[in-house]
């Protein structure tokens, strides 16, 4: 079975500061890894994904994440945040094909960017 742990439930940060949102996963098989963002009262939008290949993945809105297999981590980073980045961020893994490819989500991290 797969599981995802987001280590911080809330991350307050000042505008233009760097931020890292931490994600660890557990799986006995290879998985795909994702970060989604949810703005208030909206659906989930894909920020970036790791399927294979380069372990540094770049996504939308200046975000990037690094897949670390040995540490089973997939931390999300942005060098300089904006007020508009305030949202809930979810790390997820996808179950294997024979388990229907469902997404298993972490508990979410609320990023709050202050002026």
């Amino acid at each position: 079975a797969q599981s995802v742990t987001q280590l911080d439930s809330q991350v307050p940060v000042f505008e233009e500061a760097p931020v890292e949102l931490r994600c660890n996963y557990s799986s006995s098989v290879s998985v795909y890894l994702f970060w989604y963002v949810q703005y208030p009262n909206q659906g989930l939008q894909l920020l970036l994904k790791y399927l294979s290949g380069s372990t540094l993945v770049k996504g939308i809105n200046g975000f990037e994440a690094e897949f670390n297999k040995s540490q089973t981590s997939f931390h999300l980073r942005k060098p300089s945040v904006h007020i508009s980045d305030t949202a809930e961020y979810f790390c997820a893994v996808s179950a294997p094909y024979n388990q229907g490819g469902k997404l298993i989500f972490g508990q979410g991290t609320e990023l709050s960017v202050k002026p």
Binding site: Q38, Q45, L46, K49, Y97, L103, G108
Partner: protein, 113 residues
């Protein structure tokens, strides 16, 4: 064009009622999902269909019954609504069961009073 659309966006209803949420995707995907987001924002899979065939049923009460009339539509019918059913329900789709990328609808906020 909205890739994954759900209706209604908001649904307020009394305990004991029966209600349905509809979902449509225009991406040509084979696989569709229903997820539930609780009051703590935790997201959990409920059902998944692949080409109209049920492939995931995550120990959801029998009061919840998904129906897929074709691979572009996945509806969720809920009987005898309970207070605990209050949540945001998200529909999603992916190209296939490999799920290299899932696209989500805007969600349906269900409030049972």
């Amino acid at each position: 064009d909205t890739a994954v659309s759900q209706t209604p966006k908001y649904l307020v209803t009394q305990m004991g009622n029966d209600k349905s949420i509809k979902c449509e995707q225009n991406l040509g995907h084979d696989t569709m999902y229903w997820y539930k987001q609780d009051s703590k924002k935790f997201l959990k899979i409920m059902f998944s269909y692949n080409n109209k065939e049920l492939i995931i049923n995550e120990t959801v009460p029998n009061r919840f019954s998904p129906k897929s009339p074709d691979k572009a539509h996945l509806n969720l019918h809920i009987n005898s609504l309970e207070l605990g059913d209050s949540a945001v329900y998200f529909c999603a789709s992916s190209q296939d069961r490999s799920n290299t990328e899932a696209f989500f609808g805007q969600g349906t906020r269900l409030t049972v009073v």
